[in-house]
Subunit: 262 residues, 2 copies
């Protein structure tokens, strides 16, 4: 370990020692070469499995990727984001009715889970499991980053990971020991997302107020200038999450959900 790496490791330890791991968290996109121990990974999976699940059916599964060949195979499905091949471990979390259906069929029971409600139930189960895993991992000093591209290219991921019927990949995370301390991103104020007793829809003035801080940040002003846009919102609508892409990936996802038997 060189001096810079040692210094970074000390700083990270200080953050983890003196701050609440929930409060100080940030997504990590760069990892050291330190491998993630199998025993630790299994312990984290077992902890994650303690989280809530619909009717105790555990309608999820996770596929680990450690091999370089599999990381390279998956990378294009995630638009070749560098962390996909750089992270020591990639985890693909799936909504999974396959195991439960097979059990039903072996037990003289006719599963009725080939529908949209069952898909959403399994999806929620999978995300709860994923997020508990992430928090347990972060508590251990590991860093994670969610990759949102899984619902854009589920068909490609299904092919590569040989995912069977009644299973749909939902989200992917990269996992490893942090080799960066990124600035913690801004979050909206509480009044932006908490409503009391009823949903209190926003006035234009409230919307202005909620987004003032985000719009004032130097990095966001830089984004606007670099992309020759007028507002930060246009960065989202015209570049990052455009209507034409959303429509296209909606069609893909709906087709895959049906093809997988929901």
């Amino acid at each position: 370990m060189d001096i810079d790496a040692y210094s970074l490791s000390l700083q990270l330890n200080l953050i983890f020692l003196y701050m609440d791991y929930l409060e100080s968290r940030r997504s990590i996109r760069k990892y050291t070469g330190q491998p993630v121990d199998d025993t630790l990974l299994n312990r984290l999976f077992n902890l994650a499995a303690r989280s809530s699940t619909t009717g105790n059916m555990q309608l999820y599964s996770v596929i680990t990727t450690r091999s370089e060949a599999m990381k390279k195979a998956l990378a294009p499905a995630h638009f070749n984001q560098p962390m996909v091949t750089q992270a020591p471990v990639l985890l693909t979390f799936c909504a999974d009715f396959n195991r439960f259906n097979q059990w039903c069929k072996q037990r003289k029971a006719e599963p009725g889970y080939d529908n949209f409600q069952s898909f959403i139930t399994a999806l929620i189960d999978a995300v709860i499991f994923t997020q508990t895993f992430c928090m347990a991992a972060e508590r251990e000093g590991l860093g994670i980053c969610y990759i949102g591209t899984t619902t854009y290219n589920p068909d490609k991921i299904i092919d590569i990971l040989e995912i069977p019927q009644h299973v749909v990949p939902i989200t992917t995370i990269t996992l490893g020991y942090p080799s960066e301390i990124p600035v913690q991103p801004d979050r909206l104020p509480l009044e932006a997302f908490v409503h009391h007793e009823k949903y209190n829809d926003y006035t234009p003035e409230q919307i202005d107020k909620i987004y003032t801080y985000k719009e004032s940040l130097p990095e966001n002003l830089k984004f606007i200038a670099e992309n020759s846009k007028e507002t930060l919102a246009q960065i989202f609508t015209d570049i990052r999450y455009s209507k034409v892409n959303n429509k296209h990936f909606s069609d893909v996802l709906l087709r895959v959900i049906k093809e997988q038997g929901f």
Copy 2:
């Protein structure tokens, strides 16, 4: 506080002191009369907001229910499960593109989020936020229980909570201080839900093995006997999560997603 309540509180404190709060967790369906402090609740919401969110858009919102009248109004949508009215706080978590869309429109940007992919993105954001909230709450000694009926009756919940376009309620939790220590439910062994490098589909023998422990539990044997069924799987397919119900609630959910503008 009477002796029994005092003794229970001591036992709960011992559990929380000496065990990992992730490992020892269980859903709580019965609560003491102790109210949940507003400052604490706000702190937990802010902690939850530190969790990952797509493009830092925070596509979620939460509606708190403390009033007895609102709990009673919501109860039928949750099939009158007793904890809905018994818990000091009910929280309805929503996939929310309304705030973001309003911001876009006020900033000369045309939102392209009226589609299925955007709904799923917001749903995943909402569940990540919910689960982080739950874990932060449990760490404080609070108890939670997920109520899965939210995706069955989203239309009723939308009416009662006056939820606007581009917002869909996804899940509800009950929250309060535990007045019970239920037995921790069983979970499947690791090999049931973890796959390495590729999805390794199950042989009939593996399915038998995975479900052996669950099928051997006295409470499950009791369920089978009480309902005059042959297998535990039939309890799920014929009673708890039947095909006819799943189909019906699939239609409702798909209709509501469209009606809400996705």
